[in-house]
Symmetry: C2
Subunit: 115 residues, 2 copies
DNA sequence: CTGAATCCAGTCGGATACTG
DNA sequence: CAGTATCCGACTGGATTCAG
């Protein structure tokens, strides 16, 4: 398969496994979204509250992207405050070990800095 | 510690372990650089060759950033083609399990798509 | 509450040319 | 070989506003 030749598209660097998964996690907030969905389905507002300082616009954009990459599913609930519920797909869950590993490193770094 | 209030700085989203490590890996190529350094020290040109389609400018920028974050060390060799050797620090090596996990997912995805 | 639209700034990355 | 300097397009994300 010839590489898709796109100009200025940071999302498709080389064709290697690592870039493959990095492309899935595109956007600074994507990993966080997945992370906060790992415990189970969450609603938009909950996620927004979970993830400190994320703007609605970005959260929405990330969710739509993750949905388009089949990492997340969206289920609209027609309750009477309208709401939507997001959940991880199997593929999304496959990223959890990697994200967990990243979080572990971050924790170490933070702990080290605090001490 | 009050959060540093910066505008439009994608590199410091919230203060959580996950973002901590994502900040270390900032830049689409950073994980690849670390990945290709995992087997041992490499020279600039080698890295450039290892990592398909990375430009010298970006590789240079990534290496300097990774160096400033203490993930990578740079050692100038005054041989007579001048050369430089880059290597992972301990901190850099700590990211390897996470990067490995990401690569594993990418591999799975690629294999699945190929079949 | 959900989430799309607009406006705007900062950053990343590619191409190219050039220095030591 | 190892970088740096420009120029430039693209994308991300923040703030605000608005609609269903």
């Amino acid at each position: 398969m010839g590489l898709p030749v796109r100009k200025n598209n940071a999302s498709i660097p080389p064709t290697c496994p690592l870039s493959e998964s990095m492309a899935l996690l595109r956007g600074a907030w994507a990993p966080n979204v997945i992370w906060y969905l790992s415990a189970g389905p969450r609603r938009f507002g909950e996620l927004r509250h979970d993830i400190p300082r994320i703007s609605a616009r970005v959260l929405s954009a990330r969710l739509r992207e993750l949905e388009s990459r089949s990492l997340v599913t969206r289920r609209a609930l027609d309750s009477s405050p309208p709401s939507a519920e997001y959940a991880l797909t199997e593929l999304g869950r496959e990223l959890l070990p990697a994200i967990q590993a990243l979080a572990n490193v971050g924790e170490k770094v933070m702990a080290r800095r605090a001490s």
